[in-house]
Symmetry: C2
């Protein structure tokens, strides 16, 4: 999606890791109109997939997931990263390793919101090593539901997450895929495919 690639080039900052910082419009400050467009583009891609529910993970996935859910007219469920006292009843839970924070954390959803008959689209802002997505797939599997695909704003195509998911047969659609980013700037997959 050219508008997203342009925005990343204009506002993105590359930090050691490499980490791409897009806090000006995607995951700290949010350009609300733009995120609605991103969500709509993901929704359009999966319009014929019979999606009944969108699943994301707090916090930075929520905005784009809600945007996609509004466009697809399906509910959005966000997995929570820890137990809170207003979560009750039976839970599906799994453990996700965060490379960013160097820690493991527990992710939960309430069973009543993820059903065997659900066809689930996973939506998130970033895909890198894919650990968060794998955790969400585990939750979907526990519910006996079906994952129909993954929709991502920015994929780090030089990390293995997306490749592993695609090799497993799961459709992965990323609005912007970065093949390289370093002190010389950013190269998108779309440039390498021209």
């Amino acid at each position: 999606m050219k508008a997203l690639e342009d925005r990343i080039r204009e506002e993105g900052r590359i930090l050691p890791g490499p980490v791409l910082k897009v806090s000006s419009f995607l995951n700290h400050q949010i350009d609300a109109g733009f995120i609605m467009e991103l969500g709509a583009a993901i929704a359009e891609h999966y319009a014929d997939s019979g999606v009944t529910k969108i699943l994301t993970i707090e916090s930075s996935g929520i905005a784009i997931a809600v945007a996609a859910g509004a466009a697809l007219h399906v509910p959005v469920l966000f997995a929570k990263k820890h137990l809170t006292s207003n979560v009750s009843g039976d839970l599906y839970q799994t453990i996700v390793h965060s490379y960013t924070h160097g820690t493991d954390y527990t992710v939960i959803v309430e069973r009543e919101y993820l059903r065997e008959e659900d066809r689930v689209l996973i939506v998130d802002d970033f895909l890198a090593n894919g650990k968060a997505i794998e955790g969400l797939l585990d939750l979907i599997g526990q519910a006996g539901a079906e994952a129909v695909g993954v929709g991502i704003a920015i994929e780090k195509g030089f990390q293995e997450g997306g490749m592993k998911l695609r090799e497993s047969g799961l459709p992965v659609f990323s609005l912007a895929m970065i093949d390289r980013m370093d002190e010389n700037g950013i190269v998108f997959r779309s440039e390498n495919c021209q």
Copy 2:
């Protein structure tokens, strides 16, 4: 807002605290179309307030804040509850006490996204004791920006947060205000005002 009151009555569950659980449509599973309507209603109320930015707090405030931001055509900034490695640069930070979790937590925003010239609308899903809103007001104050009001989905009118904020002169607009909730059900302020 009658549609929200109806939804709370139909789907809300009252847990000890009392805690109102509306996880089926507001803050775990999200009815994306409905949350866009809630955000639009808050935006309409503050349409003439010269809002330049919406401020909320992760995670459950993000969806309704993005909905309001999309309707007002202003950016949404969400305060983060802890330092993460992809936050860099100068921060405003404050400490918020959570009665729900019985702990204090640090809330941060990056300085570059909250400016002295900003007219800030605070949006959140719930208002009870008001501690989270007070924290956000502290961040706005540190930036030298102006808080123009607060927009809330569900206010617990029987707790002191909203009253204290209004007494301070800050406009507070809640789409549904609960005056009482217990084993006998829920009484909304709108019923007591008829």
